[in-house]
């Protein structure tokens, strides 16, 4: 019988070095500067700055990526910039670890080491809207084909198409009408789409629900943390959608404090 034994047993203690300020995620202000967001859901403190000129970004507890005009920057789990790489100024689609350049079909990973594969346009067969979750086997690309949303899983070692499915529902129909690419988010257990007045959420079981947001034609959503999605609405404070097991909760995000 194979039993596990904990070495530390009762002798271990929690030291102050085991404690830190919780990082809920990151938030981007109206000027394009990324800020760390400390605290817990409902008690956020946005303080300091990570980097400016963030054109696109994604973050979870494992780290993140941000794109400036000509650079791709990798972030660690605390939001620190740990790698920088020159990048084309062309359109990019990000998740927290990968960057996809639709013009060339290149899929980049910068951490733990630089790696790039090419995904053939013919295999995509449409406009890439978002990058979904990735693991050692594959990565999901959300693409519009003939006005319908498809989720395509590609092998991250050779770029081969492994699986494809159409999520259907309202998201399946509306995602391709989005005015910007940052309106769609593909997560492990749900799809999110920002429309002019609500966030439509489709669960992995196909059930759809809606969270109203202030009216805005070009709302953007970004993965901001492990359980957090930032909603950027022009003319209104940024919002944070907290993803919990049984649904979502909407919060107003604090304005970035001026002090460091």
């Amino acid at each position: 019988m194979n039993r596990v034994v904990f070495f530390f047993s009762v002798t271990v203690a929690v030291a102050a070095s085991n404690l830190s300020a919780p990082l809920v995620g990151l938030a981007r202000d109206a000027k394009g500067t990324l800020h760390p967001m400390h605290g817990v859901a409902g008690s956020f403190v946005v303080r300091g700055a990570i980097a400016g000129d963030a054109l696109d970004w994604a973050f979870d507890t494992s780290g993140g990526l941000m794109k400036t005009a000509n650079e791709l920057r990798a972030l660690d789990a605390r939001g620190n910039v740990i790698a920088r790489r020159s990048a084309p100024s062309s359109q990019v689609v990000l998740n927290s670890r990968y960057a996809f350049f639709p013009e060339t079909g290149e899929l980049w990973r910068t951490v733990p080491n630089d790696r790039a594969i090419t995904i053939q346009n013919a295999a995509v067969g449409g406009r890439v809207m978002a990058l979904g979750p990735a693991d050692q086997r594959g990565i999901v690309l959300a693409a519009c084909r003939a006005g319908q949303l498809w989720l395509l899983t590609f092998d991250i070692t050779n770029g081969a198409l492994k699986h494809e499915s159409a999520p259907g529902g309202e998201i399946g129909e509306q995602a391709c009408r989005a005015v910007n690419g940052a309106a769609l988010l593909v997560l492990q257990d749900r799809l999110l789409l920002a429309t002019a007045h609500e966030i439509v959420i489709q669960t992995s079981t196909g059930h759809e629900r809606r969270v109203p947001i202030p009216q805005s034609p070009g709302a953007q959503i970004h993965r901001a943390g492990e359980h957090s999605v930032e909603i950027e609405v022009s003319g209104s404070p940024s919002l944070l959608l907290r993803l919990v097991e049984d649904g979502e909760r909407l919060y107003e995000l604090p304005a970035a404090e001026t002090r460091p």
């Binding site: 194979n2 039993r3 596990v4 034994v5 904990f6 070495f7 530390f8 047993s9 009762v10 271990v12 203690a13 929690v14 030291a15 102050a16 085991n18 404690l19 830190s20 300020a21 919780p22 990082l23 809920v24 400390h38 605290g39 817990v40 859901a41 409902g42 008690s43 956020f44 403190v45 946005v46 303080r47 507890t61 494992s62 492990e226 359980h227 404070p237 919060y251 107003e252 995000l253 604090p254 304005a255 970035a256 404090e257």
Partner: protein, 454 residues
């Protein structure tokens, strides 16, 4: 020899009066009178009329050593020019002459420069009423009504006396509708030897200094007053939830007891009176829209609710500290408060992440303790069948570590715990963990947290 030449030169200048001439200035143009007579017209006694003149020197440079008017009904304003002074060749001295009849009948004055009469002024004083304040003192200039709230008025009483031997009819009015004469429609008869008391009201419809004039026949009495905002109605604080806990967001609305007559801004502040006076600072207690504990709002005329930007409410965060959150609204002269009690609560677990590594088990837990009293954490591990794994529940004292952490934190009761559990054996056999945290309010227990393999 030198002083003699200077004396002769001065004498020569003074002996050339004909080089000066007096010209009336009308609409910026000089107008000469052929007979050197200028009429100031007819004015009621006490009224004034001003005419502008140029004393022009058409000859060589000359010294003006004397200038006067022969009757006190005419005078230089604001004052007679300083003398002596040199009037250069081809230039003119600008003069303002006022006719102020002090009695009915014709009045005449000679205009004399360096001993030479250059012109004659004439005018006629008309019989008229005299005007004073209600208590008989002269009307000040201006008659100041002070600061008056919009929507209200201030009054001044004036007395019109007819000391003439006959009945008169006076026309009375003002130049600006903010100042109104009350007490009868103009024209108003005043019997010989009689008096009439009138009321002048200032009722501003706009903010700021305002000027006008009271006109009684041709008598002009400057009026002044300042319109100011009326006071705001008393504000009341309304919260969307009477009971809120830590780590929640609520909405605050500032309502007004009646439609506001004033326009302006106010502010709402929030502060915490922690149950534990030694609790560290809690930056999570704030208005997200400002990132601080102060938010400003605007009130417009007619509003019954304050505006925070385009909204009628403002979001606030309760933070992670037990105690009383006190909201204070300041609007005009008013200040009102409302207290939101935040009860002490068991530790709230916000997020967890349990992962297996090759060397053991990694647990990341974000939580908050609004009492700052968490004393112990207990970890219990389970296998895939749900059986508790040895050595059983492991309890760890966290009070010292948390106390040290809070001492350097200004984020209230939030903390993130990163615990690593080395394993002797196969970590894959550990399926899940339960965490219990004990503080003064009780025991918080997580769900069974499954370990994942990245």
């Amino acid at each position: 020899m030198m002083s003699r030449l200077l004396f002769l030169s001065l004498l020569a200048a003074c002996s050339l009066p004909a080089q000066f001439s007096l010209l009336l200035v009308q609409s910026g143009q000089e107008v000469a009178s052929l007979d050197q007579t200028y009429g100031f017209g007819s004015k009621p006694v006490g009224a004034v009329v001003n005419l502008e003149f140029h004393l022009r020197n058409a000859g060589a440079d000359a010294i003006l050593a004397d200038l006067h008017l022969s009757s006190s009904a005419f005078l230089f304003i604001p004052s007679a020019p300083s003398l002596p002074q040199t009037v250069a060749s081809g230039t003119a001295l600008d003069l303002m002459v006022q006719f102020r009849p002090s009695q009915p009948g014709p009045a005449t004055a000679d205009f004399i420069a360096n001993g030479v009469k250059l012109a004659t002024f004439n005018g006629t004083g008309m019989a008229s009423v005299t005007v004073s304040m209600g208590d008989g003192i002269p009307v000040p200039s201006p008659l100041d009504f002070g600061s008056v709230e919009r929507g209200k008025s201030a009054a001044r009483s004036i007395l019109i006396s007819n000391s003439e031997g006959k009945d008169v009819v006076v026309n009375i009015g003002t130049r600006d509708p903010a100042f109104q004469v009350k007490g009868g429609a103009s024209p108003i008869p005043v019997a010989a030897g009689g008096t009439l008391t009138m009321e002048v009201d200032f009722a501003p419809t706009a903010d700021g200094p305002q000027q006008s004039a009271l006109l009684i026949d041709q008598l002009v009495f400057p009026l002044a007053g300042t319109g100011i905002d009326p006071p705001f109605p008393p504000p009341e604080i309304e919260l969307d939830h009477a009971n809120l806990a830590s780590a929640q967001q609520g909405k605050l609305t500032v309502r007004l007891a009646s439609p506001s007559q004033a326009t302006g801004t106010g502010e709402v502040d929030m502060d915490i009176q922690p149950s534990d006076a030694s609790a560290n600072l809690d930056s999570g207690i704030q208005f997200p829209s400002t990132g601080t504990r102060t938010a400003t709002f605007k009130v417009n005329q007619g509003d019954t609710v304050a505006h925070f930007g385009s909204d009628t409410s403002v979001t606030f965060q309760t933070g992670t500290t037990a105690g009383n959150i006190v909201f204070t609204v300041k609007l005009g002269y008013f200040s009102t408060t409302k207290t939101l009690p935040i009860a002490a609560a068991v530790v709230g677990v916000d997020s967890t992440k349990a992962q297996r590594t090759s060397a053991g088990l990694d647990l990341l837990l974000s939580a908050f303790d609004n009492t700052r009293s968490a004393a112990s954490m207990t970890f219990t591990f389970f296998d895939q069948s749900g059986t508790q794994l040895p050595p059983g529940a492991i309890t760890v004292d966290v009070s010292a570590a948390l106390g040290q952490f809070y001492a350097s934190s200004d984020l209230g009761g939030v903390f993130s715990l990163h615990a690593f559990f080395p394993v002797n054996g196969n970590p894959n056999q550990v399926d899940s963990v339960e965490v219990q945290i004990v503080n003064s309010a009780g025991t918080a227990q997580t769900n069974r947290l499954p370990f994942t393999t990245p």
